[in-house]
């Protein structure tokens, strides 16, 4: 890349027309996923980074270079920011061929070199033999590749992807995941990807920020945000449904365990600092942290992290079964996923009584 590579710092605040409050850094060479429900302000945030719309307050900086600063009235145009942007519907120029689309983004290099450079990039995104097709004659996946080639051919300072996989079919999406993952290795620039699909963030991103209703809820590694949600709002946004009340009964700092009383059950959670004994807390465990052991009720030997449950409902989804069960002694219900063969082996049916074990490392106390 000919551009000097730097980190992108972004702090944006505004009340209208869409409420936004976010501050984050995207490091060079890192893919940052902006995750959140539709209408939460993700695309607006991306447009602001691109310079296509202006925030009320805040600062956007590429290395030392200010792109936007509300206090100093700095506002660089998208042209001055020299970035690569792939809009949700790709934004291909319908009157230009695939090759011309890429050439159109190459104003910064001598005219004689443009076509060769454009062809090279179309090859690099695996679009072979279609340079003379108009966008309307290309499939969704091919259009996405042209848009990606056009954005990357500029040798951008930052690459911005708005829901890059939402407009293609599932098979194409799987292939594009692989390609982006491969391309990621070669890119030394900050890449920001907006998505509503948590799975995409887990697959492709090095870090993620979670945005809901314009507010940044948490930043961290995707796996970490999923297993260590900061508070209940984050947990709910991440699709976690096993959120329960409990009481702190002991703190073991040396073993990094916080002991909880959940009804009559004893729960060993990952250590949470500064909690007094007797404090009421909320804790969470992802569905995959609930294990059905292939032993019948009452035979689990450990005396903690196990719950006696009664199965309320079962829903077979492909090779797994989604189970909703009542926990004996408390009013809460627990969600779990069991492999189909295990459910059959355990003879699980609605009304079955059994015991489940909870993975200690996935039990996490939420910030009050």
């Amino acid at each position: 890349m000919s551009q000097t590579v730097a980190d992108l710092y972004c702090r944006i605040q505004q009340a209208k027309p869409i409420k936004l409050d976010a501050e984050f850094v995207c490091k060079a060479g890192e893919v940052l996923a902006v995750v959140g429900p539709s209408g939460g302000g993700k695309s607006t945030l991306l447009r602001m980074i691109a310079g296509l719309s202006q925030p009320e307050q805040g600062e956007i900086r590429y290395g030392d270079k200010p792109w936007f600063n509300a206090d100093n009235k700095v506002q660089l145009t998208p042209q001055q920011r020299h970035l690569g942007y792939v809009p949700q519907h790709f934004g291909l120029f319908p009157n230009l061929t695939a090759l011309e689309n890429v050439v159109a983004a190459l104003d910064h290099i001598p005219k004689a070199e443009r076509e060769a450079r454009a062809k090279d990039w179309l090859e690099r995104v695996n679009l072979h033999g279609l340079p003379d097709r108009l966008p309307a004659q290309l499939s969704g996946g091919q259009r996405q590749r042209v848009a990606l080639a056009r954005a990357l051919a500029r040798e951008p300072s930052v690459l911005l992807l708005d829901e890059p996989f939402s407009a293609v079919d599932r098979e194409t999406r799987e292939r594009l995941y692989l390609e982006l993952a491969r391309l990621k290795e070669q890119l030394a620039i900050p890449v920001i990807m907006v998505t509503h699909d948590l799975n995409e963030a887990l697959l492709l991103a090095d870090s993620m920020i979670l945005i809901s209703q314009g507010k940044m809820l948490q930043q961290g590694r995707p796996r970490e945000v999923l297993t260590r949600p900061r508070d209940e709002a984050v947990a709910k946004q991440m699709g976690l449904r096993n959120i329960f009340d409990a009481e702190v009964i002991a703190q073991e700092e040396e073993r990094q365990i916080t002991w909880l009383k959940f009804g009559e059950h004893l729960i060993a959670s990952t250590y949470f600092d500064n909690l007094d004994i007797g404090t009421k807390v909320r804790w969470v465990i992802p569905n995959q942290g609930v294990r059905f052991n292939s032993i019948k009720k009452g035979r689990l030997c450990r005396s903690f992290n196990k719950l006696d449950i009664t199965v309320d409902s079962m829903l077979v989804m492909g090779e797994s079964v989604r189970v909703l069960a009542s926990v004996v002694g408390v009013e809460h219900k627990i969600h779990a996923e069991v492999p189909l063969h295990l459910a059959q082996q355990l003879e699980l049916v609605e009304g079955s009584e059994t015991t489940v074990a909870l993975k200690s490392e996935l039990i996490h106390i939420l910030e009050p």
């Binding site: 310079g51 998208p78 042209q79 319908p94 983004a105 966008p135």
Partner: protein, 226 residues
């Protein structure tokens, strides 16, 4: 057949289109992309000539630009002649009357350019002028062509405002529509019939053309969204 009147009408249509369309591209693009306070009022104002009788517009122009008015006198000093009862006055009147026919199709065409495409163009480093000429105009040309055809044919058939503003001076302000009226007044039905037939054939051709063009605009729009 009054060839002089037909030629004058074609000249008036051509001049009107050449002046009005570039202005309509600027105004139509502005109205399509910008949101501002009072936009619906501006859009309503643009549409006024559609609902106001041409004679009313002609009357206001006659009074407003005549030698009795301040504006008329100032323009007379500047141009060396009056605008009323002069070809240039007809051009001014035709431009005003045709504003909705020019701006509407062009504005709609610009509105159909997806925001994604405009965003991508800006992020590709293209200047605004380059985006307009290289990306937007090729996408909106059916709308521009529709506006041109509509304005041209509308000016060709304009009667009320031309009569009010220009009177009936052969070679200066006597257009084909007024010539037809004159012929009927003089019981020269053969001549009136010929001229009417020319205008009728022209109108049908023009309508067929604009219908097929607007279908193409719609088709292109769908292709972009696919």
């Amino acid at each position: 057949m009054d060839w002089q009147a037909l030629l004058l009408s074609i000249k008036l249509s051509t001049v009107t289109v050449l002046i009005l369309i570039p202005l309509a591209i600027v105004a139509g693009r502005f109205l399509a992309y910008r949101h501002f306070r009072g936009k619906s009022w501006v859009e309503a104002l643009v549409m006024v000539p559609l609902v106001l009788p041409p004679t009313v517009i002609g009357y206001y122009l006659l009074v407003g630009l005549g030698s009795e008015s301040w504006l008329g006198r100032t323009l007379e000093q500047l141009l060396g002649h009056q605008l009323v009862f002069h070809f240039s006055g007809l051009v001014v009147a035709s431009i005003l009357v045709n504003i909705p026919f020019a701006i509407q199709p062009i504005q709609r065409a610009f509105e159909a350019v997806p925001e994604d495409v405009r965003d991508a163009a800006a992020c590709c480093g293209m200047s605004r002028l380059k985006v307009l000429f290289k990306i937007e105009l090729p996408m909106v040309w059916p709308g521009v062509l529709t506006a041109m055809v509509l304005c041209f044919s509308h000016v060709l058939g304009e009667f009320g405002v031309v009569l009010m503003m220009g009177g009936n001076i052969a070679g200066e302000t006597k257009t084909i529509a007024i010539s037809i009226y004159d012929s009927v007044q003089a019981f020269d039905f053969a001549s009136a019939g010929n001229m009417s037939l020319v205008l009728l054939l022209f109108a049908v051709t023009v309508l067929a053309l604009t219908t097929s063009l607007s279908r193409r605009v719609g088709g292109q729009h769908v292709a972009n969204r696919r």
